[in-house]
Symmetry: C2
Subunit: 270 residues, 2 copies
């Protein structure tokens, strides 16, 4: 998706793309980060909505209508406090019920002169929880964009049983060209999970251009599908047997020896 400050257009596009995914047989769909709205800082307070607001109600209805699990990228979520909004992913089941909520943990405060200068912590509040959600398509680990740079978060999602990890993003063009695909593939390879990574495309109304390159990656690190830089639907098959075969043949998840505290545990001689 290309996301603008026209919320009605963005939500309509999301609904249309989810319908197209369903028509192509999708059982799970993932939207990009901030798919509902992006715009200048002064517009955020107005654009933010509660979990029960109209934007998420429309996504719940899209999931229900098309009978699929919908990982609704993310949106500016306001709670009842005076604090900044969260950057929040909501997952809806095929009956439209809310299955889980993840609030972005790592905020992107970066100053690459002449390329990217963004301080997300001026615009949003960070979440404090790591979230996996059981869905019809398997146990889904949630993350958003900049989280991708923190391998320990994907280790934790994998330890908690995730077999698919979503990375809805608005990854910038400068950092995406250098790092997007390599980090997505590494997360898939080292954790032996499917990685589903829809990124925004095009110029943006409030910052540097984004990279595109939405991708679906298998547990061996193969890029099963990569989107062109147009709005559209990217599909691939999630095969639990393939995932099991990868984990059985190269059982690196069983071979991990550093404890959570960073010490090497005994038993390396097997």
């Amino acid at each position: 998706m290309r996301v603008t400050d026209d919320k009605e257009r963005n939500l309509g596009t999301a609904e249309q793309l989810v319908a197209e995914a369903a028509a192509r047989g999708a059982r799970l769909a993932v939207l990009p980060e901030m798919f509902a709205w992006r715009g200048p800082e002064e517009g955020i307070a107005d654009a933010a909505e509660p979990l029960q607001g109209p934007a998420m109600a429309r996504m719940a209805e899209a999931a229900r209508r098309h009978r699929l699990t919908l990982v609704a990228g993310s949106f500016y979520e306001k709670d009842g406090t005076a604090g900044l909004p969260f950057n929040t992913t909501v997952v809806f089941g095929a009956d439209g019920a809310r299955l889980g909520v993840y609030r972005k943990v790592h905020l992107f405060d970066v100053a690459l002169p002449g390329k990217v200068e963004i301080r997300e912590s001026d615009r949003m509040r960070a979440g404090d929880e790591i979230v996996c959600v059981d869905t019809e398509a398997g146990r889904v680990g949630l993350s958003i964009c900049y989280d991708l740079r923190f391998p320990e978060m994907y280790r934790r999602l994998t330890r908690e049983g995730a077999t698919l990890i979503c990375v809805p993003a608005a990854f910038t063009h400068a950092t995406g060209a250098a790092h997007w695909e390599v980090l997505l593939r590494a997360r898939a390879i080292e954790n032996q999970v499917y990685v589903l990574a829809p990124n925004q495309i095009g110029p943006t109304v409030d910052g540097p251009p984004v990279w595109g390159g939405s991708s679906i990656i298998d547990p061996w690190g193969v890029v099963l599908a990569r989107a062109p830089d147009t709005e559209g639907v990217l599909t691939a098959e999630i095969d639990p047997d393939h995932l099991a075969a990868v984990r059985a043949g190269l059982p690196c998840l069983e071979h991990a020896r550093l404890s959570a505290g960073g010490e090497v545990e005994r038993g390396g001689d097997r």
Copy 2:
């Protein structure tokens, strides 16, 4: 290097390549995993040497003669016990003194039918320590081959101050084609370190062929140099100012929020 079961040839090749590196101005040189000898299982007990044995004595002398820091890949190290040998990296300073010893922590026990079937734990004993070494070229984190699949080890080396991480390897052709470069680049990017990764080349005398593709990668993930699949020396410049600029512009190491125990720490709003 192509490594065989002719130890004299291997050590001679290593000495010649270190001399060539020194002639090209190298201040730090890294040899591949098991550069001194590789061969069938029944030959390992004879080929193994203590830390004070002739193979490491020759490497100490090479470092001293050429006045450079030498990360002597790895070799089968026997200690005084009846146990299996370790897979051990020794680092020598420019005066020939031993600066550090790392024994491979993660052993490669893999069965990919028709491609790779190796049980390192039948041939060697695992180490239990994570090791960084201060050298003239900066603080060097040590790892070997299969360790590359465990991001938590590289996080720990980085937390302990490493700015260069060595990955001497004998990465197989099948897994190398799929995973070598992407994992090396990811380790460099997520930890903002230089990665120095000399891999063996060619067919092997005791197992599947190896991948080659020795690489030097900068803290932004750029492949500064990649070796052809011939024996030789690969060089690049390590620039502490570049590393500092990468870390200042995109301070993701400061943004990490998961504790060693995997919990999200407070303070995400900065």
